[in-house]
C-alpha cells in the first residue's frame, strides 16, 4: 500500500497495540493497532458495528481491554479510570449527548475544568486564596469556551432547554474545558443539518490551527471525513482494514467493499 506523501512527521500522540475487547462471545475489537500523530485530525471510519465506539471507550477508560495496550504520550494508560485518563489529557464526547440536563450551560462547561482543580474540602469550606483563584480560573476558562461556541447569551439557560445543535457544541466545549492535548469526538456531526456541519468542520480546523491539539474523530458523514481529516483509519469487524490519506482511502477497493459489500460475495 504505497502512500505518495508521508504522514506528517510529528511524534505519535496516541498508539494502540494489539488492542482487543470481547463482549460475551463477540470479539468487538480484534488486535487493533493504530497511531495518531500530533496536530492532525485523524478519522476512524467503518460500517456500523465495526467496533469504532468500542475502541473509543477502551481508549477513554470506560471499558477494560482483554488484550493489548493504549499508549498516550509514551505512558501506558490501559485500563486506567476515565477521570484519570481525562487528567492526563484525553477529552471525549459521546455518540448520544450526555450533558447535565438541569444545570446551566456555564456549569456544564465548568465540569471540564474540574480535573485541573487541586484544592480540597477544607480550602472549599474556608474559601482559601487558592480555592478562590481556582474558582475564578474555572469560570474564566468556561466563559472563554462558551464565547468560542457563541452561546454566551444562553449561559444561564438549562442545558436541557437548548437546541440539539447547541447541545452538541456544548459537549465539545465541555471536553475542551479540560485543556486536553487529544480531543476524541464520537460522531459529532450526527443529527446536525448541513449548515451546522459546515460550522463544525470550520470550528475543528480552526481549533487545530489555533491550539496545539490533536483530534481523533469517528464519523459517518463522508464529506466531513474527506473534508477535514489528515489521516483516515478504516475498521471492519473489529480489525483495521486500511489506513491512509483521505484520497487514498476514497479509492481503496477493500474500503468500498467493506462499506457497500462486493457484488460477488
Amino acid at each position: 500500500m504505497t502512500d505518495f506523501n508521508p504522514r506528517n512527521a510529528q511524534p505519535v500522540v496516541l498508539e494502540t497495540r494489539n488492542l482487543s475487547k470481547v463482549f460475551g462471545g463477540l470479539t468487538a475489537v480484534n488486535a487493533f493497532d493504530a497511531q495518531v500523530h500530533k496536530g492532525e485530525i485523524c478519522s476512524l471510519i467503518g460500517p456500523n458495528g465495526a467496533g469504532k465506539t468500542t475502541v473509543f471507550n477502551t481508549v477513554t477508560g470506560i471499558y477494560n481491554p482483554e488484550k493489548g495496550h493504549v499508549i498516550f504520550n509514551g505512558n501506558d494508560i490501559t485500563g486506567h479510570k476515565p477521570h484519570h485518563i481525562v487528567s492526563t489529557g484525553i477529552a471525549r464526547t459521546f455518540q448520544n449527548i450526555r450533558l447535565f440536563p438541569t444545570m446551566t450551560c456555564l456549569e456544564n462547561i465548568m465540569a471540564g475544568q474540574h480535573c485541573r482543580i487541586s484544592s480540597g474540602l477544607w480550602s472549599a469550606l474556608f474559601k482559601s486564596a487558592r480555592q478562590k483563584h481556582e474558582e475564578r480560573e474555572t469560570r474564566a476558562v468556561a466563559e472563554s469556551r462558551i464565547k468560542q461556541i457563541r452561546l454566551w447569551d444562553y449561559r444561564h439557560e438549562l442545558a436541557k432547554n437548548m437546541a440539539y445543535g447547541s447541545q452538541r457544541m456544548l459537549e465539545i466545549a465541555r471536553a475542551l474545558a479540560t485543556n486536553p492535548s487529544l480531543l476524541v469526538l464520537d460522531e459529532p456531526s450526527s443529527g446536525l443539518n448541513p449548515k451546522e456541519t459546515e460550522d463544525l468542520m470550520e470550528f475543528l480546523t480552526g481549533l487545530i490551527r489555533k491550539e496545539d491539539i490533536t483530534i481523533l474523530l469517528i464519523e459517518h458523514d463522508m464529506n466531513v471525513v474527506m473534508g477535514i481529516s489528515d489521516w483516515v483509519i478504516v475498521m471492519d469487524e473489529g480489525k483495521k482494514i486500511a489506513e491512509g490519506h483521505p484520497e487514498q482511502i476514497y479509492h481503496n477497493p477493500r474500503v468500498i467493499e467493506a462499506y457497500l459489500g462486493s457484488n460477488d460475495r
Binding site: T60, K81, P82, F100, A111, H114, R116, E135, H156, T178
Partner: protein
C-alpha cells in the same frame, strides 16, 4: 436585552430576600424567651431533624444517592458519645467532633466496598447497614451498648467549670447554632467545585467521570460528610436526653429523614428546613388527635408529593439560588 432584565430582577429580589432573612433570624432568637419549656423542646427536636435532614441532603439531595439507612450514622454518633462519656468520662463537647469523626470513619469503612452500586441496589444495602447497626446495638456486643436498655447517665456539655448547658433554652441555642454553622458550610460547598461535582454525579455519572470527576471519591466524600453531620446530631441528642436506646434509631427514623429531604426539596437547604419543620412539628400539633394523628400524617405526605413533587421549596436552577444571599457578589454573574 436579556442581560438587562436579569440584573434588575435580581436586585429587587436580592434586597427583599435579605430583609426576610433577618426577620426570621430575630424571630428565632426571641422565640425561646416567650414560650414555655415544652415549646422550646419541640423547637429543639425541630433543630435535630433539621440537622439530620441537612446531613441526608448531602447524600440524597446533592449526589442523588438513594440512602435509606442514615439513622445508622445518627446512632453511631449518639452511642459513641454515650459510651465514651459514661465509661471514660470524656467531656461532651470534646465528643462532638469525636462522634462526628466516628460516624464519618464508619461511613467510609462501610461504604467503600458498596459505593459502586446504583439506585435501588444501593438503597437496600443502606437499609441493611442501618438494620445491622440497630440490631448490633440491641445485642450488646462486648457489653458496650447496654443492649435494649441502652446507655444512661450521660452528662451535660460544659465549657469547663460553672458554665454548663442543661436548660432547654441553652440546648435550643446549641442545636440551632450548630445548624446555622452547618448551613453556612453547606452553602459554601454548594458554591464550590465540590458542590458542582456532586451535582454532576447526580445528573449523569458516566458523563461526570468522562469530564474528569473522580466519581467514587466524591460519592464517598458525600457519605462521610453526611455521616459526620448525623454524628453531631447524635451527640447533641444523646446529651439532651441523657440516655440513648435503640428505639430511637429504627428504620422508620431513616424514612422520616428521607421524607424531610423529599418533602422539602432535594438539594435545597431552605426546603430541608421546611421538611424538618413538617416532620417534627406535625405530630406535636396534631397530638390531641392521638389515634387519627398518623392517618392525617400519611395523607398529608401523599398530598405533598402530589402537589409539590419537587418539594416545598425546590432548589432554584439557572442562576438565582438561595446561595446568593450569602455570597458577596452574585454567584453566577460575571
Amino acid at each position: 436585552m436579556i442581560e438587562e432584565t436579569k440584573r434588575i430582577g435580581m436586585e429587587r429580589f436580592f434586597g427583599s430576600y435579605q430583609s426576610m432573612f433577618f426577620i426570621t433570624l430575630t424571630m428565632f432568637i426571641i422565640y425561646p424567651f416567650v414560650v414555655s419549656d415544652y415549646y422550646i423542646d419541640v423547637a429543639f427536636f425541630f433543630g435535630i431533624y433539621a440537622l439530620l435532614g441537612l446531613s441526608l441532603n448531602i447524600v440524597l439531595g446533592e449526589v442523588g444517592l438513594f440512602d435509606l439507612g442514615h439513622a445508622g450514622f445518627y446512632a453511631i454518633g449518639a452511642y459513641t458519645t454515650a459510651i465514651l462519656n459514661t465509661k471514660f468520662g470524656v467531656p461532651i463537647l470534646i465528643l462532638l467532633p469525636l462522634s462526628a469523626a466516628a460516624a464519618a470513619l464508619f461511613a467510609y469503612l462501610v461504604c467503600s466496598p458498596i459505593i459502586h452500586l446504583r439506585g435501588d441496589y444501593l438503597c437496600i444495602v443502606t437499609i441493611g447497614m442501618g438494620e445491622i447497626v440497630r440490631i448490633a446495638l440491641i445485642n450488646n456486643p462486648f457489653n458496650l451498648t447496654g443492649g435494649p436498655n441502652g446507655v444512661y447517665g450521660i452528662d451535660f456539655p460544659s465549657f469547663g467549670g460553672p458554665f454548663v448547658i442543661d436548660s432547654s433554652i441553652e440546648y435550643y441555642f446549641l442545636i440551632w447554632i450548630v445548624v446555622a454553622l452547618s448551613i453556612y458550610g453547606l452553602i459554601r460547598l454548594q458554591n464550590s467545585h465540590i458542590g458542582r461535582a456532586w451535582n454532576y454525579i447526580r445528573e449523569d455519572e458516566v458523563a461526570a467521570g468522562a469530564s474528569g470527576i473522580d466519581v467514587r471519591h466524591y460519592k464517598l466524600l458525600a457519605f462521610v460528610l453526611g455521616a459526620a453531620l448525623a454524628g453531631v446530631a447524635g451527640n447533641i441528642y444523646a446529651s439532651k436526653l441523657m440516655c440513648v436506646s435503640p428505639e430511637s434509631f429504627t428504620f422508620w427514623e431513616s424514612c422520616l429523614m428521607f421524607c424531610i429531604v423529599l418533602i422539602g426539596g432535594m438539594g435545597s437547604i431552605p426546603g430541608v428546613l421546611i421538611g424538618a419543620a413538617f416532620i417534627s412539628l406535625f405530630p406535636e400539633i396534631f397530638r390531641p388527635f392521638a389515634m387519627y394523628r398518623m392517618l392525617i400524617f400519611g395523607t398529608v405526605m401523599i398530598l405533598m408529593m402530589m402537589f409539590r413533587p419537587g418539594g416545598a421549596w425546590p432548589r432554584k436552577r439557572g442562576g438565582i439560588g438561595f446561595a446568593s444571599i450569602f455570597a458577596k457578589k452574585d454567584v453566577t454573574d460575571d
